[in-house]
């Protein structure tokens, strides 16, 4: 097994693990974490593929650029999602009953 194969497989595992946890838990913060794990898995697949598709000058820079874009999009989404989680849970605790 080569290094790329190892990381491709682990990326697949992380992506599915994160997606499954996101769908199966009700805890909102865990869902945010699961989304980030899933995103890390998908991006790992892209980075490992970049090694596969690279030339003599190194890995494929296009895929690296796509991953950078993906990281920034994920943090934007996460920032807003955490804001919503905090408001929702703030309502739950401050509102007293339920």
């Amino acid at each position: 097994m080569t290094r790329e194969e190892l990381f491709l497989a682990v990326g697949a595992g992380l992506a599915v693990l994160g997606a499954a946890r996101l769908l199966l838990t009700r805890d909102l913060l865990t869902r945010v974490l699961a989304l980030n794990v899933a995103s890390g898995g998908v991006l790992m697949i892209l980075v490992a593929l970049a090694l596969r598709g690279g030339g003599p000058d190194g890995p494929d820079p296009v895929l690296h650029a796509l991953v950078l874009t993906g990281i920034v999009i994920t943090v934007s989404v996460t920032g807003f999602a955490i804001g919503l989680v905090r408001r929702i849970e703030g309502d739950l605790t401050e509102g007293g009953r339920r």
Binding site: R3, V16, P61, I73, G79, I82
Partner: protein, 325 residues
């Protein structure tokens, strides 16, 4: 290059990643989960360097592990108890079925992926084209060339996504500004001293990352994330103006997208075509644009952090229950 065997380090790294991900998702205490996520982010950054992606590693360390963890830690600091409800029988069944299904899917996907050979596309791959035309892009670092010249339109839309995210977070505050968020009280002296030393260092590092991006790994996103850390530290260290609360806030948030759009409009109006920088002044245009982007990205990430703070409960006569702290 493309047939590196698995080393012990890889195996340890992968084991650590899986363990950190598992703990992040399944440990009952939120604070532990978030710390495990931080570890996961750091390990990811190491994985990216192992996979020959230093740009991604820098971004992951600064944004994925750094900013995201800061947002998460801030969220659980306030409410460490998980409001998890009791799980019923059918939910447990669902969890087991889901776990089995997920395992099958993961193995299937992994098998398909591992089966991919070296790219044998029936045409010129994009990677070769980047190498061929790098000279015309105005920068010598290929990832920066892709992000800010070859595929600059992607980056423009991505900056729009960032602006939408921070506006969305601002909309959760009562008057869509940060005015309602109380400024942090002055920190203890020792921490204050640390903050005062660390913040300028971060600003300098950000500047270096920005300039380095045209020839080496680095660029506006990594620099922006580091600068965001500097801004938040300044805010903590007793200078709340580092993240403007209202009047200056939106202009600084929007300056990156405004600059990018202006560049697009200008290139179209001057007849070159949308976002066509031309070889002559592409390098200068990219550096100027990146400087604006760094400011906006830094302010966006910092403002996301501040906007997520709970607004004060309205001062009604009734005393609100004491906050968990």
């Amino acid at each position: 290059m493309s047939a590196a065997p698995v080393t012990i380090l890889d195996a340890l790294l992968v084991g650590g990643l899986l363990a950190a991900a598992g703990l992040t998702l399944f440990v009952p205490r939120r604070s532990t989960a978030v710390v495990m996520f931080l570890v996961f982010g750091v390990l990811l950054a190491i994985a990216w360097t192992r996979l020959g992606a230093p740009d991604v590693a820098l971004a992951e360390a600064a944004i994925g592990a750094g900013v995201t963890s800061a947002l998460l830690i801030d969220a659980v600091y306030e409410r460490s108890r998980r409001p998890e409800r009791a799980t019923g029988h059918h939910r447990q069944v669902l969890a087991v079925v889901g776990a089995v299904l997920a395992a099958v899917l993961a193995v299937g996907l992994a098998l398909v992926l591992v089966d991919i050979g070296p790219f044998t596309s029936p045409g010129p791959g994009a990677a070769d084209l980047v190498a061929d035309r790098l000279d015309e892009s105005g920068v010598s670092h290929p990832v920066t060339a892709v992000l800010l010249n070859f595929r600059s339109y992607d980056t423009l839309l991505e900056i729009a996504v960032l602006l939408v995210a921070v506006l969305a977070a601002l909309a959760l505050q009562p008057d869509a500004t940060l005015r309602g968020v109380p400024a942090p009280t002055r920190t203890p002296d020792l921490l204050g001293l640390l903050v005062r030393v660390l913040a300028p260092v971060l600003v300098v590092v950000a500047g270096w990352l920005l300039v380095a991006g045209s020839v080496a790994p680095g660029g506006a996103f990594q620099a922006g994330a580091v600068l965001a850390g500097g801004l938040l530290l300044m805010r903590l260290g007793g200078w709340p103006g580092a993240v403007p609360a209202s009047d200056l806030l939106r202009p600084t948030l929007a300056v990156g997208l405004t600059g990018f759009l202006t560049l697009a409009y200008l290139t179209a109006a001057l007849g070159a075509g949308w976002l066509d920088l031309g070889a002559a002044w592409a390098g200068e245009a990219i550096l100027a644009l990146e400087a604006l982007l760094t400011v906006s990205i830094a302010m966006t990430l910092a403002a996301l952090f501040v906007a997520n703070q709970d607004p004060p409960t309205p001062p009604v006569g009734v005393s609100s229950p004491e906050r968990t702290r």
